[in-house]
């Protein structure tokens, strides 16, 4: 999983910053399990629903296990105008899974996301924290192969 960069300095206020802690936990464990959220709530002395509320608010936080590589295809208008639908179909074919699913070997998960700010090089997608632009069905194969 991705290392939390040192830039996200955990200052004294942050010892209790729920969002920062959830992001760190997700980096370590890949997703936020129920057990993890309960433990976090207990250690911070806050309600489980508060932890759950923050965990489910942000689309980049997951409460279900994900593949090692989480593919997020942009579904917003500028990418739609540049054939994002074809990219989605290509991915479905290459991976053999539908949106919202994970491959049986646990390698890839596949979902939609909203505008990622790459509209000048649409259609675009993210795989974990990396952005891939100017996508074509051919490039999809190459990109997936390069994911070890």
């Amino acid at each position: 999983m991705n290392k939390t960069p040192e830039a996200i300095s955990v200052q004294s206020k942050d010892q209790e910053n729920l969002l920062v802690l959830l992001e760190e936990a997700q980096n370590k464990f890949g997703y936020l399990s129920q057990e993890l959220m309960v433990e976090l709530a207990e250690s911070l002395g806050i309600s489980i629903s508060e932890v759950y509320g923050v965990a489910t608010f942000y689309s980049f936080l997951y409460t279900q296990p994900q593949g090692r590589y989480v593919i997020k295809v942009c579904q917003s208008l500028p990418c739609f105008l540049k054939n994002a639908e074809m990219i989605i179909k290509s991915l479905e074919q290459e991976l053999g899974i539908r949106l919202g699913e994970t491959t049986s070997d646990g390698k890839f998960s596949f979902q939609l996301t909203n505008c990622i700010g790459a509209c000048d090089k649409a259609p675009a997608m993210m795989i974990n924290n990396d952005v891939y632009v100017d996508l074509t069905p051919d490039r999809i194969s190459e990109i997936l192969k390069a994911c070890e």
């Binding site: 923050v54 500028p78 505008c115 990622i116 700010g117 509209c119 000048d120």
Partner: protein, 404 residues
């Protein structure tokens, strides 16, 4: 050609990984000059420049700083809003990729002016790949001693459009759900952790060093009566040359879309993203300014074959999904609009649906807690105003049993 690179003056000129290349272009001279001025003088200069926020709201920057400076508080903050979630907007990404130093300098000047020692860059999670670059730029600035009296931390978002709204952004930095706050109080009075806070868009802060170096008078010579300076536009969609363009405010949409971005057979243009305006091609001569039409400058072009109702439907889907859910007008209103529009795209609908859209729009504009809900009706209302025929044809087809 109305292209004028003030904000973008260093982009593709300096090396964003080397502060030396920035120093060679008058880098941090504005900060030096600022330190020789009283904070009040700096604020007066920014006020005199008439710089307005570049993130979409266009609030007078100098006034924001002044209110924050005057508010009592022990620990004030500067926040740079680098959430850039508005659909079709990527100018801040472009800027951060190429010139993080001007941003750092702008923030530092802001901090000095309002009396803040701490600040944050709230960077959307989708721009995570820029983190290294920013961290590197900050550490070089620190090494050179520019961040002695004022430091900058980076806080990441986690995939929530509403966290580009200033109050939801602050909630997010505080570690909570990105719920919108009731206002008043506004950030200059009570912002981050209840302290006086200045929140400015990336592009707004990028303007600061040049204004300090060249003076307010220099800045206010460009632009229109109520919109001074330049604006960085993000152009995408059905154009041959998508990308970032910086133009003098008051330039016409036609110059941007047709002359620079090479669009042809345009049906309509969406200006300001999902919460922006939609205008038909016959208004292509409209000047781009705060007093006419602007937003944060996202320009998405749709050519003749595009389906207006589908465009509006997809826009509403986005807004309904991203609504924080706190206030009923937005949470419920966007959902109902999505349902109605989805019916219409499938070729099912009636005149009653249009009436309902109009009534909902009014209610949402009047009573939503923030700009998302207040502006969500824009694409619906604009498309009904300029493309009502498309809606009526769709309804007529569905009622006569002809496929849409």
């Amino acid at each position: 050609m109305p292209e004028k690179r003030i904000v973008l003056r260093n982009c593709d000129v300096i090396d964003p990984r080397s502060i030396t290349t920035y120093l060679d272009r008058d880098g941090f001279k504005a900060l030096e000059k600022a330190h020789s001025m009283a904070p009040e003088q700096i604020i007066e200069e920014i006020k005199a420049s008439a710089l307005r926020g570049r993130g979409g709201a266009g609030f007078p920057c100098g006034l924001k700083w002044e209110l924050t400076k005057k508010s009592p508080g022990d620990e004030k903050y500067v926040i740079c809003n680098a959430d850039e979630g508005e659909v079709g907007t990527f100018k801040d990404r472009y800027i951060l990729e190429r010139d993080p130093f001007t941003l750092i300098e702008g923030m530092t000047i802001a901090g000095y002016a309002i009396g803040a020692k701490k600040s944050f860059i709230y960077l959307r999670a989708e721009y995570y790949y820029l983190l290294d670059l920013l961290v590197n730029a900050l550490s070089q600035a620190r090494e050179k001693g520019f961040l002695e009296r004022f430091d900058i931390d980076i806080r990441l978002g986690a995939g929530a459009y509403i966290c580009g709204e200033e109050s939801a952004l602050m909630e997010s930095i505080e570690g909570k759900r990105g719920d919108v706050r009731y206002r008043p109080p506004f950030p200059p009075t009570k912002g981050l952790w209840g302290e006086p806070t200045v929140i400015n868009n990336v592009e707004t802060l990028m303007n600061i060093p040049q204004i300090i170096l060249n003076g307010a008078h220099w800045f206010s010579q460009t632009g229109t009566e109520q919109s001074k300076g330049t604006k960085v536009f993000s152009v995408s969609g059905d154009v041959k040359r998508p990308g970032v363009y910086e133009l003098v405010l008051g330039s016409r949409l036609k110059e941007l879309v047709e002359d620079l971005a090479l669009a042809e057979k345009v049906k309509m243009v969406q200006i300001g993203g999902a919460t922006g305006r939609i205008i038909p091609y016959d208004m292509i001569d409209t000047p781009l300014s705060f007093e006419t039409i602007l937003g944060a400058g996202a320009i998405t072009v749709f050519e003749e074959s595009r389906d207006v109702i589908d465009v509006v439907y997809r826009t509403m889907e986005f807004l309904a999904e991203e609504s924080c859910g706190k206030c009923s007008p937005c949470r419920e209103g966007t959902e109902v609009m999505v349902e109605i529009l989805e019916k219409l795209t499938r070729g099912e609908g009636s005149e009653r649906d249009i009436t309902l859209l109009e009534q909902l729009s009014e209610a949402m504009m009047l009573s939503s807690l923030c700009g998302l809900g207040q502006a969500a009706p824009n694409p619906v209302m604009d498309s009904l105003q300029y493309f009502r025929g498309d809606y009526e044809n769709r309804i007529r087809e569905s009622q006569s049993g002809v496929a849409a």
